[in-house]
Every structure is written in C-alpha cells, then in structure tokens.
Amino acid sequence: MDNRELMNLAIEAQKRAYTPHFRFNVGAAILTHTDKIFCGCNIENPSFCATICAERTAICKMITAGERVIRKIAVVGSTQDFCAPCGICLQAISEFLEQNGKIILTNAEGELKELGLVELYPMPVTKK
C-alpha cells in the first residue's frame, strides 16, 4: 500500500470523527509490518481529558487486534498546513513505530509529506 492509498483511508476515517465541541476532525490510518490496516478518528468528550486523538484510536484498535508494530501511520486534520500529531500521540506512536517507520502528513492541497519519528519527536522517551 502506498502513501496516497493509506492517506485516503485516513481521510475516510476522518469523516467518522466525533467532534461536537470543537469540530476539528482528524483521521489516521496505520499500516502494520504485517500489512494490516487500522483506522481511527478523534473522539471528543466534554471532559477534555477523556478526548482521544485519531492516532491513538487507531493504535488502540491495532493493539486490541494483537498487532504491535507500525510500519506507517497517515494523519489528516482539518488544517490548511500539514497537521502533525500532538506530543501525546508522538509518545504513543514512538512505542510502536518500527525502526525507520514513517509518519505521513497531508495539507489542504492534498500534498503528502513523509517523515521519520525523530523529525517530529527527537530524543523519544522509550525503553527500546
């Protein structure tokens, strides 16, 4: 699966975002090292602590299905510029992204950007 196809799945997941409070819709799609796909959207909550981002929704689904290794994760947000994962999601992604795994971002023009973890999250806190 190429980056464009994975991003298209993230865009489909974005349509299912639950965002009655901020209307900021985000979608994510994970390709595992076993070629499985897991998609997620953000789910807001009036207690903002209970809100979960699209990236972590997808990670939770992946883990629940018994998968542990992310090869690529595509993320799309409702922004003009490339929408990068928040620090909380970078922390979560760093736990499961394979070495040389990629994070793929897009912008309102539909351009794609492929980044390694340390370009977004240098010196990650990890036990690896």
């Binding site: 990068a84 620090g87 909380i88 922390q91 999250y121 240098p122 806190v125």
Partner: protein, 131 residues
C-alpha cells in the same frame, strides 16, 4: 513559589532536585522533579506523582511545575529544569512536550541527572520541531 531575577541554571536545577526528593513514585522508584523560571523571574516546582492506574492519573514533574506556575497566573515560562533519580538525562515525555509548546514555546529545557552538576540545555523547538 520564589522570586528572583538572578537565578541561574544550577540554582534552578537545585530547586528541581528538591522537588525530586518530594516525588511520590512507589511503583517505579524513579523520582523526578522539575522547576520552572517564569518570564517575570518567579520559580515554581513540581514533583512526579504516580498513581496505581499508571495511566492518565499519573502526573509528570514537568507538568506539575508548569501547572503550578499557571495556577498562580504565570503563563510565560522561560526555563524548565528536570532532574531524574538516574544516571540518565531523562528527556521529557511527549505529553509534557505538548504542554511546553503552549507555555514555553520559545523556552529552554534543562536536563540534569543524579550524578553531578552537568546540565544539558535544549529548546522546546528542538524537542518538538513541528509544533
């Protein structure tokens, strides 16, 4: 809270070390402390507070220090010192970096360890380049 215009990195790290000793870490036994210097010259400290849920209920020292400052009306933080009870210079987790991007986007993050006076200095932007 203390107020000083002259505090240097070593002094800020010493405040963090004091907070480290107050940390509540019965599960990992790795205490962490932090201290912030606000733009107005005030200092606030924070200690790690673990929780048996080991999830959202655990609070890192860094965020405890930042929220300590913010709750006193200090929204601009110039420097934040972190010290961990290990030989390692422990970088902040992603959750804390996310908070830094709001309250010290142009600030400095100082890392210390339990073994000496060496302090490693990073900017928030170095720790979270795209945010």
């Amino acid at each position: 809270m203390n107020c000083s215009n002259q505090i240097d990195n070593l002094q800020l790290m010493e405040l963090a070390r004091g907070a480290m000793e107050a940390a509540y870490a019965p599960y990992t036994n790795k205490r962490v402390g932090a201290a912030v210097l606000t733009a107005s010259g005030k200092t606030f400290t924070g200690s790690m507070v673990e929780n048996i849920s080991l999830s959202g209920a655990t609070m890192c020292a860094e965020r405890a220090a930042v929220f300590n400052a913010v709750s006193e009306g200090e929204l601009e933080i110039a420097k934040l010192a972190i010290i961990c009870e290990t030989e390692q210079f422990m970088p902040p987790c992603g959750v804390c970096r996310q908070v830094f991007s709001v309250f010290l986007p142009d600030g400095e993050v100082l890392l210390g360890n339990c073994c000496g006076e060496e302090i490693r200095v990073y900017t928030t932007k170095e720790l979270l380049p795209l945010l």
